[in-house]
């Protein structure tokens, strides 16, 4: 019953095997090795983007902040959902990497509507040099509260961005889970919609710590390389990033693991619904936010469920508190069913 995060579970065994296989002989460092080149090509193939530049980094925050740094100037602002990861959980990394750009918060949840986005962009138009300039639009799929944009919704957001000539960043820490949920291809969820730079996350889907940044316009590529090095994110023993990603790309592991995670979450979501639990997440992939009385949370945790509560845990027992459940590829149905069974007992 470990639902704390999709970074809590083990890496898939194929990842370990790939590391072992790569751990032989000598190679040049910093990505100048055959395995890295092979993986870059596989990602270009997967994304049907033969011109794309592909880079591997170790963390999602690095991937996002570096991506924004090539899309946004220091005197500009990034439009994103009010509760985006880049707002809440990166300790000002976007501001750091962009050299001090602002984030303009759109809406009040983890998703934006096209109308909200348009309105926020339009509001940054009348002040000339006094206000920040319009910079990039950053979209997250799967979003922070577990909601998944449909392709149509993503297209509508990208269309607004393009109408104003703004580049689009896709935070894809859970790119695979979104693809699985939408039953779409990576190309359909990225450049075909107008995404300029996509993060194709691996860490939250069975790798040890690798994210690919896919830059569809190769003119931005060398600047990205320089900023990656300047940020300390160019790994010398690059083959160990490449090996993980290679396992991910082999036999659709990325998609299969995402599907496993989503399947567990669907089981969980349906179970919660049946129990009449107040669900915050409306369009889930592998993350579910939900409300329960604090006492019920405490009882679940006492029974062995591990997950985070959001906000105040100090109130009286009866107060309603939001919890977050995340399913990773490994959690399986047994854990989910035990959780639901405990909850059923508690609510009874």
């Amino acid at each position: 019953m470990f639902f704390a995060s999709d970074n809590s579970g083990p890496a898939h065994p194929a990842v370990l095997d790939a590391l072992t296989a790569a751990n032989t002989g000598y190679t040049l460092g910093y990505g100048n090795d055959d395995l890295t080149r092979e993986v870059q090509q596989k990602i270009r193939d997967l994304f049907e983007a033969p011109e794309a530049a592909v880079y591997l980094v170790g963390t999602g925050t690095a991937a996002n902040a570096l991506a924004l740094s090539v899309l946004c100037q220091p005197f500009e602002t990034v439009f994103c959902a009010a509760r985006a990861h880049i707002v809440e959980d990166e300790c000002n990394a976007p501001e750091f990497y962009t050299g001090g750009a602002k984030l303009t918060l759109v809406g009040d949840g983890d998703q934006m509507t096209p109308a909200q986005l348009r309105s926020a962009i339009e509001a940054e138009e009348n002040r000339g040099v006094h206000g920040p300039q319009r910079g990039a639009v950053s979209i997250t799929n799967v979003a922070e509260l577990g909601n998944t944009y449909s392709l149509a919704e993503l297209a509508a957001l990208c269309d607004v961005a393009k109408e104003f000539g703004l580049p689009v960043h896709l935070d894809g820490a859970r790119f695979s889970q979104a693809c699985a949920a939408l039953n779409c291809t990576p190309a359909e969820m990225s450049w075909k919609l107008g995404v300029d730079v996509a993060v194709f996350g691996g860490t939250k889907n069975g790798l040890m710590g690798v994210e690919a940044v896919v830059i569809f316009d190769p003119k931005r590529a060398y600047e990205f390389e320089l900023r990656r090095k300047r940020g300390g994110h160019l790994f010398s023993k690059h083959r160990y990033l490449a090996a993980q990603m290679n396992a991910f790309l082999t036999d659709d592991l990325w998609l299969n693991l995402a599907q496993k995670a989503n399947d567990s979450a669907a089981l969980l979501y349906n179970g919660l619904e049946e129990l009449g639990v107040d669900l915050i997440t409306q369009t889930p992939a592998n993350v579910i936010f939900f409300n329960l009385p604090l006492g019920a949370h405490k009882a679940l945790q006492k029974a062995g469920a591990v997950y985070y509560l959001m906000g105040d845990e100090t109130g009286p027992d009866a107060s309603i508190v939001t919890g977050r459940l995340v399913c990773d590829w490994s959690i399986g149905s047994a854990g989910v069913e035990r959780f639901l069974s405990e909850l059923r007992r508690i609510l009874a």
Copy 2:
């Protein structure tokens, strides 16, 4: 005959075994796991520094730049050797992480003398707010051209820094190799001399990609954590960094691997000396810079030796060009002897 870098060879098998062993069950992320805590304690023990704060990051550039960012203000300058790694090979990462501090280059090689350091510090004293303020002193051991400071030399540099009240950063990408060369303990090469923050490198000594930053004054610790997160260097699946470092710390692997690398380099160095080769490195650990006619380099490379030439490779055959040979833990005596034998043939 692969002497390109100590990041070219394989990770030690114990590292793979440790990763596999760690790859089971669920843990909290971001370093909130038992293995990370155990490794932090082992490093405190190794350094005989019970109060030290210990953090793991993925690259040496990250380790150095983050260390400097808690030692140096944006309006200050870092004193370091003219050919330090932080000057030449980090694409302005120190400037980025410090918010725009300057690097004052001391001397013209990879090492500073205490007199040069004192003179450089004194030169920054007469301009009040007009010039940068004196910030940190950054020392590298093993230095970039392969030279190893003795403990007495390090002590003299630290004494100069302390005389002016300046904190000391030790770039220890090859900390282990320096310890092995000096036959000293980590404490003797760090806080006992006055080092404030030491980088204890693993990547160039058999790990896949982990460096420990050891902060002897814990008052700087939380700021480091925030800057690490802001830089995108807080790994969520921290156990995989910790597992590597744990293998490193078990049965003195860090020291044994360093000794292997140094032994190979000593064999190589002695062989080059016997052949009358012009050696730039004077006090080697596992890196050797040397001069040869370009033709000799080309013949060596044609025979299968892999290593970097520094600077102009386009001149006439007879011109003297500097080469760099780096021995890693795995290279062994056979490769060295073959290299020397090829060179003997070529020079004959």
Copy 3:
């Protein structure tokens, strides 16, 4: 009928006289002159703050951004009203000078309530290193939409800041006008409430371009000096800043000019009220935001009134548009009465 801004009118003649008087003989630069020292002491006296450090800069944006840079770390966030000048009209200068701190927008207007401030601060508490840390609180009086906080309101905001141990910045581009409106002393509107750094603006009250930054805790003083120089805001011919400020401080010019501006605005405000105009500003000093049909605005402007419209001017005639009227010290009652008379005619 020139109500575009309080930076639109002429400097007071005493300012020109002071410049002329200062323009004789030789002095050392960068503030090392007697006139600067005299002015610094006069400001300490005015603020009843004998320990305060006082610095002169040329623009309000410089004053605010430099003040925040000594109160807030790059990994922190500044709490301020959603429509603060530092948010809307400084093109990311606060982010630039703080090295990438965030601004957390409180409420949705130009003022914060203590409850809103507390709630925003509390919301930044649960994420550890993942979110930005709590930094400074920034308060503006007179606020951007012309509202003036009472001393009690300011005290309540400062109390919230102090409860969380956060420093307080007071953006006082219109400090004088606020003092005049509140009939209070500078000390009563600054350190006596808990303000740590106050901007005492001159540019919007009859000077050519000088703002004083008053730092009540002198421990932050030297860092401010370094950041001022690093920002390019240390004027070499400092006597010309000092001379302007000296005129400002002589015979209460600062207060008299502010009173003139406020008197004109009061006349205007009362006239608008009598005409039944929808007034946005509730507690005015010398700035008034108000709503009119676009046609009425256009008619006023055609009649010679100069002032800014906020937002969309492209809609149909009947749409309601916000206008901003700013009175400076020089505008006088004749201009105001002519404006009201024109408006009376138009609305009739």
Copy 4:
């Protein structure tokens, strides 16, 4: 005998007159006034550069740092003389404004030779993403130790920059004095040589505090405006900067004042030569560095001469210490002759 700096003397009376003349009526702020537009056009005319963008700022450090910020990326390095003002006297402002670019010090004095510049640029070519990239070349005329490049020398430096495709920044805090010394036009000392952005300084030549930044490629103009605002260097009451610059441009005041300063310095230089004084400055305009025994300096200062000594003033009387003499437009021959007469007496 006030030779401390050319920022020590009074502003020219015409500057005060121009301020007074400008101090009437109402204008829009931030440069949207007729006088600013007129002055911008006059500078375009003076520089024979009808397409140039012209901006006014208040300090030389702001002018230089902002200019570099539109010429150089954070991951690049600026090539400049080892003792350039941007190195020694701007407290890391170039690093701040460029977002952390490096300065590569060329030569060891205040001037570079083309060979030194070429060598420094070439040295930054072999490290790919590991080292900083080649950014801008920054040249100062008049240089920090008082030396004036000839047009041929400037052309040779610009040619090296252009050979590598690098933009050129001209630090012209003493642009006028250099023009006067070289008897050339502003165009001949700027874009005709390949300069991309020139600073046309007024503060050190009789203004209160205004520098013009002349950007010959208007594509960089709007970015400059944004960075100026973000740096807090956009003055709201712009007419007072414009008025000063207007006086400067009227009846060749800029050139006449520079000629006066240079004439005084020439008188001084010749006098020092006749007295056999060891002169460091070889090609003076209005600044002279020279060596004297400390005792002689002390005697001069006791006699009323005001000027700075460089470096150690604490040695024994006989030690040789460098002094700096700067002539401004107002100093005149009487002061110079009195100084020489005192020195003659002292040396006798």
